[in-house]
């Protein structure tokens, strides 16, 4: 899951122009790997842990959004801003101590920026995310300070979240998205820093989600975690926080290595901050260490380091914390994942 940036955008275009997310839709593939232009917003989101040749850990995040402006429906111009493609690229290196990130935005058009139908194929100038016929994802993104060239190969089946990919986000049934995840992607490739390529290997998690209406008006933001556990199981959990405390909605799914999935109801999922960190950049206070309870299991999340805040106020305008975390269960290391904390600077709306 994720969302963002555009979440800061008022709903000036009325939702009626877009297709609603309905419970009885059956996701079909490869069609649903591709773009869904009828929906307001869509994203492909990859996070993961990498290891360099000398065993140094790195975290990375790659996100491509496709956003329908709801404008220029009849505009024949090739510059008409009907859809925007927004991409975020971030790298967490404990040696640097703060998140490195770059972002780009462009209108779809001229074959310079697009999200294609039929399979995952998203491009923004020279940044690209493509899913090959064999299921492999290729990421090629070079920013001004660093870049990634990664190949991500599935090692497990995809995971349809919630009710066969119909993922509720609130008490109303239309507050939902279509949502599938590809956990345990095996990563090889290079990280380029200071014009020097470094070979890396690692494990990643991909989410693809699309929706037209998302957040409840009472929502303040959300906390989300996706983790590849060491025993081959996968955990995803989120809660949508209510403005004056409490939660609007919560959800978790835990799939073991054999493919058995346990889904948790909102009341079974609980996020408890253990330690907070105040950003020197934005003054926002993030619960960077969390305890997450999924029914009887309690997971403890510890950040790779604190300053993994992504401040894109210069471009798309949002600020969130998106960081590599390690998970432990009963005091024992359990796995690695990514924690996302949004809405801590200003309430998100959608």
């Amino acid at each position: 899951m994720l969302l963002i940036s555009l979440l800061a955008v008022n709903t000036f275009a009325d939702t009626a122009k877009f297709k609603a997310v309905v419970p009885d839709y059956t996701l079909t593939f490869p069609h649903d790997y591709g773009v869904h232009d009828d929906f307001r917003i869509e994203w492909w989101y990859i996070t993961g842990w990498l290891e360099t040749e000398n065993n140094k850990p790195l975290g990375f995040q790659v996100t491509f959004f496709r956003y329908a402006t709801g404008q220029n429906k009849d505009n024949p111009s090739r510059f008409a801003a009907k859809y925007l493609i927004i991409a975020h690229l971030a790298l967490s290196d404990p040696a640097v101590g703060k998140l490195m990130h770059e972002e780009k935005t462009a209108r779809e058009g001229f074959d310079l920026a697009y999200a294609k139908q039929g399979n995952t194929d998203v491009k923004l100038d020279d940044w690209a995310l493509v899913r090959e016929e064999d299921g492999r994802y290729l990421v090629d993104m070079q920013g001004s300070d660093f870049g990634l060239q990664l190949s991500l190969t599935p090692t497990q089946m995809m995971l349809l979240q919630d009710k066969n990919g119909f993922s509720r986000k609130g008490p109303k049934s239309e507050q939902a998205s279509y949502y599938y995840s590809e956990p345990h992607l095996s990563v090889t490739g290079t990280v380029i820093r200071h014009n020097k390529p470094v070979s890396v290997t690692g494990r990643a998690w991909l989410d693809h989600e699309w929706s037209s209406e998302y957040l409840d008006p009472d929502a303040d933001g959300w906390d989300w975690v996706g983790a590849n556990l060491d025993d081959g199981s996968s955990l995803m959990a989120f809660q949508i926080r209510r403005k004056n405390g409490g939660k609007v909605w919560a959800y978790a799914a835990l799939r073991d290595a054999s493919g058995h999935v346990v889904f948790f109801e909102p009341e079974q999922v609980e996020f408890t901050p253990i330690r907070t960190w105040q950003s020197p950049h934005t003054d926002a206070v993030y619960p960077v260490a969390m305890r997450i309870r999924t029914d009887e299991i309690v997971w403890q999340l510890t950040p790779l380091f604190d300053d993994q805040e992504l401040d894109s106020r210069q471009s798309t305008g949002t600020v969130y914390w998106e960081g590599a975390v390690t998970l432990s269960k009963d005091g024992q290391p359990a796995g690695q994942g990514y924690l996302e904390l949004t809405g801590y600077v200003q309430p998100l709306e959608m």
């Binding site: 008409a80 209108r107 100038d125 471009s315």
Partner: protein, 849 residues
């Protein structure tokens, strides 16, 4: 130390006694410096603001890509985004739109609109990003959103959220003011929209004005530019911001340089005043200097003394001038705007910045002029033999050396040679030098002329017995011509400059008037609210117009802008029906043209304005290539015509040729000839009843003519002002030299009073002397001024504005200024002499100096 206090005593003693002359000199220097400095300040302020404003629009890009026509196919954009070495490419669509609510102001009803891609412009031109309502960042993409600079909001009287109506061709569309452009420069009127929306709503689909490029780090700009130039071919220009600046500067350069030159001329007139005042002061002090020499002051010390006086006057005058100049510039900018009403710098609000370097330069110029006016008299004072100088009556002898006819002849010869030289950096530098040489030469010849003419008059008068005063006047003027002619320097220079300017402006104005008659043959002209290069009338609208009743003839015109050289402003291409049997029926041709029957076979003829010949070498009979239609097309230059409207060049061609080449059948302007008996009001109502009648700009050619002449007069207002200042300086010169001379002649007048000449007669004598001298100055000034006007009309104007004109002499106006000058000089001489005769006559005779 002691000698320093000696020079101080001498200086202050002199100044205390002759503060009027002192003030006149200081004022003359100050006026000259003030004019030059203020014009410089105003011009730089306007130019800086203009280029800052245009830089604001182009942002921090490394390179820009332009088409040779003002717009080009957007297909270039994706190509450039992916081009090796390009880090960022930002597409820009720039055009002016008509604001219907402002239509009553014919010259000022357009708003500059820039279509940008906000995502790609962020890094290159952040100043152009609109500020939306809080948190509604993507509103800028809305299909009705437009952002306005504060100045534009003020001009249009709108705020965020208001509706704004704009003309597109024959339609009016309504947009919503989505926010402001907070970082636009003060006074800059500008609107920004999303490029996709702009292309769509303003009918520029598929077109771009330019693409701003930011290169990847480490890319060599020069190499990259050459490579890209090569890739893009001849239809595009790759320019650096520096060339952009050059283009902006080029647009107004001739105008600015000419103003500066006029200001220098005023300063130059001041030089003569300084010279004559200093010369006379030295003549008056001949005894004093001789005594000092006898008492033991060396030549060197004396020279230093006189030059020191000049330097101090120069310092005071120049400093005052700088202060005046700054004040004048600030006032002028405040009331007239940075273009002084000439509309060379539209849409900007200039602010004056004090530039120390310019101040130093103008200070030095002021000093130089003073020294120039001081050094010759000082040199002579130092060379004079002290013993004879101690005796009275030596003044004329001392000054007779100054006539220097060889010097005058060299000056005049140089002037002749300079008129034959070509422009330097496209500026008529030698033309101005020739004018300066003419003036110097004329002034140097003056004593000879005066002696000759007054001696001649004397001989005529001698035959009949005339009155005592007349005899005295004639005798003095004929026998002491040098002293008299010094007084004349200022009158001569200022009057001749005035004559020259008057002749030039009149010639220009009459030529423009005739030209307007020629270029506006139809009775009225109808324009679709202009949308840049897009033709407003499509074929069906053209048909509707052509079918209207009441018109004898309907012509369609198509005009657009082309860039032939990236550092020069655009040229105008006009396609219209041209009478092939004799193109001069349609176009105001010069003599350079080839008759249609003699044109080579299978050529497309074009007729070019004089500027095209000067700037691009489009001589008659040449084959030239213009970016018209698909690819570049070869044309044949069939003639040269006069164009006072576009100093950067214009080309005319047959409308049918244009349409064949481009398949563009649209038109921007329609010329309509009335059938006899049709009234103006009827015609207008017929036109207004057309479906697109509201969007038509209807102009009667009479109105256009009046308006054009008004603009003409406005842009020459500043030159009239400069002329006035030159005249004031000239009269100051008369005042200074007459008061100096009458003071020097106190004894003479005292003696005359002793022997029974009445006070009134002495006043008459002074007035007569002043009048006669000025009369001679006016006569010679007229000849000199006429010669200068020849240079202005046939050299300076063609070289700086690339147009020629016919000579026309404004006799009435010239007579009036001559009379005014004459009376003013006589009165000045009278006033200056008045207190010379007010003192005791007895004492005057006894006084030795």
């Amino acid at each position: 130390m002691k000698t320093a206090s000696l020079s101080r005593w001498l200086m202050f003693g002199e100044w205390r006694a002759h503060y009027v002359q002192l003030l006149a000199v200081i004022l003359a220097i100050a006026l000259g410096v003030a004019l030059g400095f203020s014009i410089h300040l105003i011009n730089t302020a306007a130019l800086n603001e203009f280029s800052a404003a245009s830089k604001n629009l182009t942002g921090q890009s490394d390179l820009q890509v332009h088409g040779k026509q003002s717009m080009f196919d957007e297909e270039l954009f994706p190509m450039l985004v992916q081009y090796q070495g390009v880090e960022l490419a930002s597409p820009v669509l720039e055009f002016d739109v008509v604001v219907p609510e402002k239509l009553e102001n014919r010259r000022d009803h357009k708003l500059k609109v820039m279509g940008i891609d906000m995502f790609r412009a962020t890094e290159i031109s952040p100043d152009l990003l609109g500020v939306t309502e809080e948190g509604n960042q993507l509103d800028g993409l809305s299909d009705d959103a437009i952002f306005l600079s504060p100045a534009a909001m003020e001009w249009l009287q709108v705020e965020r959220g208001d509706a704004l109506q704009l003309r597109v061709g024959l339609q009016t569309i309504t947009l919503r003011v989505a926010g402001g452009l907070v970082r636009a420069r003060a006074g800059q009127r500008l609107a920004v929209m999303d490029i996709g929306v702009a292309q769509w709503r303003f009918e520029y689909l598929g077109l771009l004005s330019r693409i701003e490029l930011k290169l990847a780090p480490g890319i060599n700009h020069e190499t990259f530019k050459v490579k890209l130039d090569d890739t893009l071919g001849e239809h595009y220009f790759v320019t650096e911001s520096i060339e952009q600046d050059a283009r902006v500067a080029n647009m107004s350069r001739a105008y600015r340089v000419n103003l500066n030159m006029l200001a220098l001329m005023a300063l130059f007139t001041g030089t003569f005043l300084v010279f004559s005042t200093q010369a006379l002061s030295i003549i008056r002090r001949r005894h004093q200097f001789a005594l000092l020499r006898v008492l033991g002051m060396t030549r060197h010390q004396l020279l230093r003394q006189v030059i020191l006086e000049g330097i101090i006057l120069g310092i005071i005058g120049s400093l005052l001038g700088l202060a005046f100049g700054y004040a004048i510039a600030a006032t002028a900018i405040h009331f007239l705007g940075g273009d002084l009403g000439s509309s060379f710098f539209p849409g900007v609000q200039a602010n004056i910045h004090f530039s120390p370097l310019a101040a130093i330069i103008f200070f030095m110029v002021g000093m130089g002029v003073t020294l120039l006016g001081t050094i010759v008299p000082a040199w002579e004072a130092a060379q004079a033999k002290p013993a004879p100088a101690l005796k009275s009556g030596g003044e004329e002898m001392a000054i007779s050396k100054r006539s220097m006819p060889w010097f005058a002849i060299i000056c005049l010869t140089l002037a002749m040679i300079f008129t034959q030289l070509p422009p330097v950096f496209e500026l008529p530098i030698f033309g101005y030098l020739a004018i300066a040489q003419l003036l110097v030469g004329g002034v140097a010849l003056m004593p000879r002329f005066a002696a000759w003419i007054f001696a001649f008059l004397m001989r005529i008068r001698g035959q009949n017995n005339s009155g005592a005063v007349a005899t005295l006047v004639m005798a003095r003027l004929a026998n002491a011509p040098h002293q008299a002619s010094i007084a004349l320097g200022g009158v001569l220079v200022s009057f001749s400059l005035m004559v020259a300017m008057a002749i030039m402006v009149t010639s220009f104005r009459v030529s423009v008037e005739e030209w307007l008659g020629h270029v506006l043959p139809a009775d009225l002209y109808v324009k679709a609210a202009s949308i840049g290069d897009q033709g407003g009338f499509q074929l069906n609208e053209q048909k509707a117009l052509a079918d209207l009743p009441g018109f004898a003839r309907v012509d369609f015109f198509r005009s657009l802008q082309l860039i032939l050289d990236p550092v020069r402003p655009e040229i105008t291409l006009m396609a219209r029906p041209i009478d092939m049997s004799d193109p001069s029926n349609t176009i105001p041709m010069t003599d350079a043209m080839i008759a249609s029957t003699l044109l080579p076979q299978d050529v497309i003829p074009i007729w070019v304005s004089e500027a095209m010949v000067d700037l691009y070498g489009y001589d008659v009979g040449k084959y030239v290539t213009l970016p018209v239609g698909m690819g570049s097309q070869q044309f044949f230059v069939a003639g040269v015509w006069r164009d006072y409207g576009r100093q950067f060049g214009a080309v005319q061609m047959q409308l049918t040729d244009y349409q064949t080449l481009t398949e563009d059948y649209s038109s921007n302007t329609v010329g309509l000839w009335l059938q006899p008996g049709t009234t103006a009001s009827k015609v207008e109502s017929v036109l207004r009843q057309l479906p697109f009648g509201d969007a038509l700009e209807i102009s009667w050619s009479g109105d256009i003519r009046t308006l054009s002449l008004q603009i003409f007069d406005r842009s020459f207002a500043i030159t009239y002002l400069l002329e006035m200042v030159a005249v004031v300086i000239g009269l100051l010169g008369v005042a200074a030299s007459f008061s100096a001379q009458t003071l020097a002649r106190v004894k003479e007048f005292g003696m005359l009073r002793h022997i029974g000449v009445k006070r009134r007669q002495i006043l008459a004598l002074l007035a007569a002397e002043g009048g006669l001298l000025t009369g001679l100055g006016i006569m010679l000034g007229f000849v000199l001024g006429w010669s200068i006007s020849l240079i202005l009309v046939f050299i300076v104007n063609p070289q700086s504005f690339h147009w020629t004109m016919q000579m026309h002499l404004p006799w009435g106006w010239l007579t009036i200024i001559a009379a005014v000058m004459l009376v003013a000089a006589a009165i000045t001489a009278l006033i200056a002499g008045r207190h010379a005769i007010s003192g005791s006559a007895v004492r005057a005779v006894r006084e030795d100096w």
